[in-house]
Amino acid sequence: MKPPNDGTPLVEARDVRKEFVLGGGFLARARGRVHAVDGVSLAIAPGETLGLVGESGSGKSTLGRLLLRLIEPTAGDVLFGGRSLLGLPAAGLRALRREMQIVFQDPYGSLNPRMRVASIVGEGLAIHRIGTRAERRARVAELLDLVGLPPEAADRYPHEFSGGQRQRIGIARALAVGPRFIVADEAVSALDVSIQAQILNLLQELRQKLGLTMLFIAHDLRIIEHLSDRVAVMYQGRIVELAPRDEIYSNARHPYTRALLSAVPNPDPRRRKERMTLGGDAPSPVQPPSGCAFHPRCPHAEEVCRTVTPPLVTGRDAHAVACHVFPAEPPGKE
């Protein structure tokens, strides 16, 4: 794994926000706005894998799509290789699409059942008019081999494959146009554990072989730990903690991160732990709590937490925390 370098980040989000407007639908009960992503800034270095962890509704998938400009932010900016994605004309954006791709969670729903694997994997090449028909055919064969599928797979349909094999097809499709940046959104969550390991190993190999930069989105902290150089923890549309992997797993500061880590079942029956439970469900994103969004569930909440939203502040060891009570340790004390 490559350490983050000091140069220009490959991908950068600057105070990016996304609001969804609710209501107006047939059965809508209430109108309102959801701040799915509520002011996120982060940078991913070339070759780095950033793990993004959070529970359902935390905004992690929305953030992934914002970084690819698959959805438009309400405010803020997204940069790729130092260039803003938002000001780009259509042609420029299309060219950049080759550089960044996504792998989805559901290998069943994300492949067109009426297309042969060769067309699915080669579609991006055709759209971007890369190579001749024969060259594209050769490239598809090369991609199938890269993800560990036999060449005959090209002429078959998605339903003929198991979940793990379909996820390999999805990865081959994402890699077809030669991207530098991949968003993997819960890419192994739907797979059986024995198959999950195959796909995790494949992603790891490809990352090394192709020098890929990745945003790896997952709710499973064990998988995030396995794959990430740095880890960002999201709660209610904000990053509450971001640090190098070892810092997160051995020195987590935010009470939400610590609760998440504590909730992961310990795979050692000799060391059963008393878990720290939070009590209460995640709050409604339509009416988020004032101040720190985590304060109603936080065992350490103080008065200030109810009124002031804590900013994400980076301290020593590149460890950033958004918490009034357990702030980042200042950089001077190393």
Binding site: E55, S56, S162, G164, Q165, D192, V193, S194, I195, Q196, A197, Q198, L200, N201, Q204, H219, D220, L221, R222, I223, E225, H226, A259, L260, S262, A263, V264, P265, N266, P267, D268, P269, R270, R272, K273, R275, T277, L278, G279, D281, A282
Partner: protein
């Protein structure tokens, strides 16, 4: 005598393509207050085993053999009206996705009250009061108000609590929980597991905990049964199985999961695919994915045999 004793249970699905033996000779027993973790991947037969215990298998599936003894009665020999009484008072079940098991057009309180009245000759009023009491017991704050809520008004974690309240409404001796926390966020999962633990301790209920998550069974189970392709391939105490997994499938499962046995650069994946029950290899079903396979594995289906004290595996190499 154990509280629950399952002997050579067999359930098949009769499909156009042939007979899929989803549960192919499963045996286990469970004492009051204990937890059996039934572990396996999709299609291994763990959920069909659960449904078979309650005789809830729907066509084209059918229980084709075996015995399920609960408190000295063979459930598979009861008539349907006797079985209806056993469901709820003897054995009850909770599912992975509570939304599909709750009726969207009735309040959660009325659904629990109905479950109570199914088994107890009590007034509507008393049944409602009992429902509120149960919601309170499963940790739903402000239970008397929440009883009037419809399922869609509750979060996933609260719906699972409602399901649990309904399942324990008639104080069953055995609770079967099929992936009860898989659809939930990790912080909510921890709370539901803690709730099940508390209920077990208070009521002496036995729990069959069905999961694919070895972390969950490490925390909760007393004994483990590992299933593969419709059969139990390993059975033992949770400590024995974690300390010294005997079956090559169990061993491979442990090595393929991140976070078990420390941090590793590479996971040891199990090659091949989760098996298709209609296209199983002859002999041992795991042999085409097994690193220890020898010629003899194709010849016989290995029986579950004791390889160490109270620790069994179905493997000629173990």
């Amino acid at each position: 005598m154990p509280l629950l004793d399952v002997r050579d249970l067999r359930t098949s699905f009769f499909l156009e393509r042939g007979e899929a033996r989803a549960v192919d000779g499963v045996s286990f027993s469970l004492d009051a207050g204990r937890v059996l973790g039934l572990v396996g991947e999709s299609g291994c037969g763990k959920s069909v085993t659960a449904l078979s215990l309650l005789r809830l298998v729907a066509p084209p599936g059918r229980i084709v053999g075996g015995e399920v003894w609960l408190d000295g009665r063979n459930l598979l020999a009861l008539d349907e009206s006797e079985m209806r009484h056993v469901r709820g008072t003897g054995i009850a079940m909770i599912f992975q996705e509570p939304m599909t098991s709750l009726n969207p057009v009735f309040t959660v309180g009325s659904q629990i009250a109905e479950a109570v009245r199914l088994h107890r000759p009590v007034s509507r009023r008393a049944a409602w009061d009992r429902a509120v009491e149960l919601l309170d017991e499963v940790g739903i704050a402000d239970a008397s108000r929440r009883a009037h809520a419809y399922p869609h008004q509750l979060s996933g974690g609260m719906r699972q609590r409602v399901m649990i309240a309904m399942a324990i409404s008639c104080e069953p001796r055995v609770l079967v929980a099929d992936e009860p926390t898989t659809a939930l966020d990790v912080t909510i999962q921890a709370e539901i597991l803690a709730l099940l633990r508390g209920l077990r301790e208070r009521h002496g209920m036995a729990l069959v905990l069905i999961t694919h998550d070895l972390g969950v069974v490490a925390e909760e189970a007393d004994a483990l049964a590992i299933m593969y392709a419709g059969r139990i391939v390993e059975r033992g105490s949770v400590l024995d199985v974690f300390d010294r997994p005997l079956h090559p499938y169990t061993q491979a499962l442990f090595r393929s999961i991140p976070g078990i046995g420390g941090r590793r650069e590479r996971l040891e994946a199990i090659p091949g695919q989760v098996p298709d029950l209609l296209r199983l290899p002859s002999g041992c079903s795991f042999r085409d994915r097994c690193p220890l396979v020898i010629d003899d594995c194709a010849a016989i289906v290995p029986p579950l045999a004791e390889k160490a004290p109270a620790h069994e595996a179905a493997c000629i190499r173990a």
